[in-house]
Every structure is written in C-alpha cells, then in structure tokens.
C-alpha cells in the first residue's frame, strides 16, 4: 500500500512538471498553430543557466530566477530571429517546424560540444531531504515541484482569463488576423506568449535538473510534454494539464511495475492509442478547440 502511495506522489510531481511544459507547448500551438520544437532546447539552456549560477554560489531561488531570465531571453530571441521573419513571409508550417527543430538541434549540440555529455547534479537546499507524509517517505523536491507547478498554472490561468492581455492572447488564439483587425497588437501578444513559454521551460528545467540531472540531452524530456498535450488535446490548456498528469502517472507506474527501460515505449504507445481512438485528445473538442 505504501509503495503505491509513494509511486503516486512521485507520479503527481512528474506529472505537474509535464503539465507545466505541456502548457508551454499548448500556448504557442494555439496562438501560432505550429509546434515549437525548440522548447526542449530552451528548457535545457535554462537548466544549465540555473546550474552555473548555483556553481557561482547563488541559492536555489535566485538560481531559479537566473534560469527564468535565460529561458525568457532565449525564447524571445528565437521568436524574433527565427520565427517572426518567417511568419511575415507567410512561410509554410513545415518550414517553421524545420526551423524550430533546427534551433533545438543547434542548442543541444552546441552545449554537447562545449560542456560535454556529463551529467551534472543541480545542488539544491532540499534535493535529498525527505519528509514523512501519512507514513510514506516523500522527497521534498517532489512536493516543491508539485506546489510550484500548481501555483504557476494557477497564475497563468488567472492571467489568461482575468487580465486584459490574457484575453487578448485568447482572442489571438481563436483568430489571429481578426484579433489584429480589432486593434490587438499581435506582435506584443507573440512576445507575451513566448515569455510565458520561456518561464514554464525554465521552471520545469530547474526541477528536472534537481530531480534527475542537468545534461545537454535533457531537452528530449519536452517531447513527453508534447505527448502529454496530445493526450489531453493539442492546443487546449486544461487538456495539457490533464494530459501531463495522466502521462506522469502512466510513466511512473510503468517504471515501477513493468520496466524502466520501456517507459518511453509506453508513452509513445499511449499517444498512438489516443490518436487512434480519440484523435482530438481526452478533452479536446475538435480542430477549432483553442485555449
């Protein structure tokens, strides 16, 4: 019984991070209608920024801020340098996707060449501590990760549904050109969206670094987030959160009870099964379902 509870708590913390990343994907997907494959690279770079700032003697929370700044700066730079000029020319989605994948490959391999493939542990004040909850030993990092992602998701929800800018973002998600005609500054919206996605990437990257390690290939973890948002319904925000938790629970259960080596197989298998029977995801309503 206690192992099941332990696994469940672990899976909820992983699921929270997946949900956060999936939201980062879903936001960009719903506004710009393309998948930002550079997301994994941005997550990796911000985790590295966090790692280096802890090496310089910063605490965990300031390091988190450094990571966020790095994530936001990179995310906005990619948007301004790579995506926006292409969107201006009405480039095909295929070309945008190739460009995004190029950013990912570039960042991953640049870090691989410069820093090597070593696994670096991100030191944190609470990484190795455990607390006892209902008779179960739980890692503090799991709790903090879950609470942080829940708070960030709540803030994001508040922003999207209650503030002027948030409503503008949702309007652009439904129809960007009409939103532009209604006087919404679409370029500002795109910046906002990329800033949010940079922040989510940085938070998730830091926690993945604390839970596991920081290494150049860690961006591959964001593919799972894409799977999560597909399971929930691509482009839908509640769907992304739900998908994140479903995938997190599935992965931890597979790793715990079947085999850790086949974890990825099960995640991709889950996506294919969802696509076969529910092409719009668990709670997506259709192609027009946005945010």
């Amino acid at each position: 019984m206690s192992t099941i509870l332990q696994q469940l708590i672990n899976s909820v913390s992983v699921g929270g991070l997946y949900a956060l990343l999936a939201v980062g994907y879903a936001l960009i997907y719903s506004v710009f209608d393309f998948t930002n494959f550079a997301f994994g690279g941005i997550m990796m770079v911000s985790a590295f920024a966090g790692y280096f700032s802890t090496q310089l003697g910063l605490g965990t929370i300031p390091a988190m801020f450094v990571a966020m700044v790095a994530g936001v700066a990179l995310s906005v730079a990619v948007e301004l340098l790579a995506y926006r000029p292409m969107r201006k020319r009405n480039a095909k989605r295929l070309f945008l996707m190739i460009s995004a994948m190029g950013v990912n490959i570039f960042l991953t391999n640049l870090f691989l060449c410069v820093f090597g493939a070593n696994l670096r542990t991100l030191p944190s004040g609470f990484a190795s501590n455990t607390i006892t909850l209902w008779g179960v030993q739980v890692g503090t990092v799991d709790i903090v990760a879950f609470v942080t992602s829940a708070i960030s998701l709540a803030i994001l929800c508040f922003f999207l549904y209650k503030t002027r800018s948030g409503i503008a973002v949702r309007a652009s998600a439904i129809d960007m050109s009409t939103a532009g005609l209604m006087g919404i500054n679409v370029n500002r919206i795109s910046l906002i969206v990329f800033v949010i996605s940079g922040i989510t990437a940085a938070i998730a990257g830091m926690f993945f670094g604390m839970k596991y390690t920081v290494y150049p290939g860690m961006g591959a973890m964001s593919n799972k987030a894409f799977i999560a948002s597909v399971i929930g319904g691509l482009g839908s925000l509640p769907g992304a959160v739900l998908g994140g938790f479903v995938l997190g629970i599935l992965e931890v259960l597979v790793a715990g009870y079947i085999s850790a080596t086949y974890r990825d197989l099960f995640s991709f298998g889950a996506m294919i099964i969802v696509l076969m029977f529910m092409p719009n995801g668990l709670i997506g309503k259709g192609d027009q379902n946005k945010l």
Binding site: K92, M101, L110, I272
Partner: protein, 306 residues
C-alpha cells in the same frame, strides 16, 4: 579502397535522402526518425541472409518491404483523419528512439541486443551499389513526375484544395511514407552488407538529422538537389573528420538560416541539368552586369521597404 568506401556511403545516403525527399519535400511531412527504417531494413536483410540463405538482392528488397510494413503500422494512426503534421513529426521522433530501445533490449542470440550483428558477409560491391542507386533514383524520378507525384505536391501546397480536386489525402500520404520507408530500408541493408557490422547505435538519431540536413540544403522540391547535396556533404565530411562533432551544430544553424532566407533549398524547385549549367557558365561573362544590376535592385528594394 578509401574512395570506394566514400562512394558506397554516399550512395546509401543518396538513396535514403531521396526517399525522404518524397516524404518531406514533395508531400510536406516532417520526419526525424528515418534512421529507424534503415535499422529495420538492415536487420531484416542481414538476418534473412544469415538464417534463411536469402540472396543479397532479394534480402535488400525484403528488408525494404519490412520497413514499409512497419511504416504502414505507424502511418495509419498518425496520418488518418487528416491529423496535423505535428503528430506525425513527434511520432517519428520517438520512432527512431524506440526501434533502438527495443533492439538494444532484445538479448537473444539472433539479434544480439546492444552488441549488434557481426560477421556479416561483404556482399555490397561498388557496382551493385551504383546500380541500385541508379535504379532507385530512376524510379523516384518517374514517380514524382507521374500523377502520384503531382498528387503529393498538391497535398504539400494546399491540403484542402487538393482534397477538393479529388486527391485522396490519407492514401497518398501513406503511399509516400511507405515508399520513403522502403528506400531507407534498402539503404540500411546495403550499408549493413558493406560495414559487415551493425548495432542499434549504427542507426542513431544523428543519422536522421544528417538526412534532413542534406535534404533541406539540397532543396525540398527536387530530386537532383538532394542527390547532389548528399554526394557533396558525405564526401566533405570525410575530409573534415576532425570537425565531425560540430557538424550537428552547423546543421542546426543551417536549418534556421535556410528556412529563413531560402526555404526552398539551394536547388529549389529546379532540377539540375548539365546542359543548362554549361550554358550558364558560357554566358556568364555577358550576363554578369545584368546579374549585378538585379542584385543591386534587390538590395535597395529591400532597404526601401523596411
């Protein structure tokens, strides 16, 4: 021998890149997992040859068929219902990894897990490779210039409009996916019988990346563009061995820059033709001022607009 080795490697790359050109260039579907099909083709061909004594040519073709079969299994759920290309892209991204994962963990004497297959007879020769490449390029050339190829281009350009004109979207997409998988499978078999040793690590994600980079540089809507790019890039990498790890960094930049400034690649929608090239260089001295004029106009025109 060294030169022959480069030519054989270049030829296998040409075969797989041309297979990918049909899928990504003509039909407009993005894939980063085609090394997985190479892997399946190679293992199928080698195992058939080893245990069932299937002759070389038949083994290669059966390897290609094995890859095709797998491609249909993944292609059906991800391509049906007119789903967006993103699902397909992420599926292919995982596919290459999963093929390696499964083969790495199959610890039986037949596939030999992560250690891979050794003592493969060297059945690939220079001439057989050249013949295979020529035949496959010829088939692909005919395919993309046939009605089927035109259907593919129609889907890439405007999916909805193509469907209105009576193109069967799912069937055409599946067909081009299956053909590209077949090409990669054959290339994988060929490579296996040349290297005499394969393991799951031979067909890493880097290889899929190489293919896509070659395709993007060569031009997404032509056969000769990727053909030339594959030949040039493969032989260039042989001479730049020391920079081999940095090539992926360069590829990443290349994707971004090419998509930003010339998304149709170096050749674009044109095919390479010897006659035109000779004519171009012959007339270059007379046309040179004209080109400079056009270039200047382009520069000033851009400045005015911005």
């Amino acid at each position: 021998m060294y030169i022959i080795s480069i030519i054989v490697t270049a030829c296998t790359n040409i075969i797989s890149v041309i297979g990918l050109a049909l899928l990504t260039g003509y039909t407009g579907m993005f894939s980063l997992g085609h090394a997985g099909f190479m892997c399946i083709g190679a293992y199928t061909a080698v195992l058939l040859n080893k245990y069932l004594m299937v002759p070389y040519v038949l083994a290669l073709i059966l390897g290609g068929c094995g890859a095709t079969l797998v491609s249909l299994i993944i292609g059906y759920p991800t391509l049906r219902n007119k789903l967006r290309g993103d699902y397909f892209a992420i599926c292919m991204l995982g596919f290459g990894t999963i093929v390696r994962l499964i083969l790495n963990n199959m610890n039986n004497p037949v596939t030999n897990g992560a250690l891979g297959l050794t003592n493969i007879p060297k059945l690939t020769t220079l001439w057989s490779t050249l013949l295979f490449t020529a035949a496959l390029v010829f088939f692909m050339w005919n395919f993309v210039h046939s009605q089927y190829g035109k259907n593919c281009v129609a889907i890439q350009q405007q999916e909805v409009a193509a469907e209105m004109m009576g193109v069967r979207i799912v069937r055409t997409k599946l067909l081009s996916f299956a053909i590209s998988a077949f090409y990669c499978g054959v290339a994988g078999g060929q490579l296996a019988f040349w290297l005499q040793y394969i393991s799951p690590a031979t067909f890493s994600d880097t290889r899929s990346n190489d293919f896509l980079a070659t395709l993007v540089t060569g031009g997404t809507n032509s056969i000769t563009g990727p053909f030339l790019a594959a030949a040039i890039l493969t032989s260039m990498l042989e001479y730049l061995r020391s920079l081999v790890n940095w090539r992926l960094v360069v590829y990443g930049l290349l994707y971004i820059l090419i998509m930003r400034f010339r998304p149709e690649g170096i050749m674009g929608y044109k095919e390479f033709s010897l006659k035109k090239t000779i004519k171009f260089f012959k007339e270059l001295p007379q046309n040179w001022p004209g080109y400079m004029e056009k270039f200047k106009e382009k520069l000033t025109g851009r400045r005015k607009r911005s």
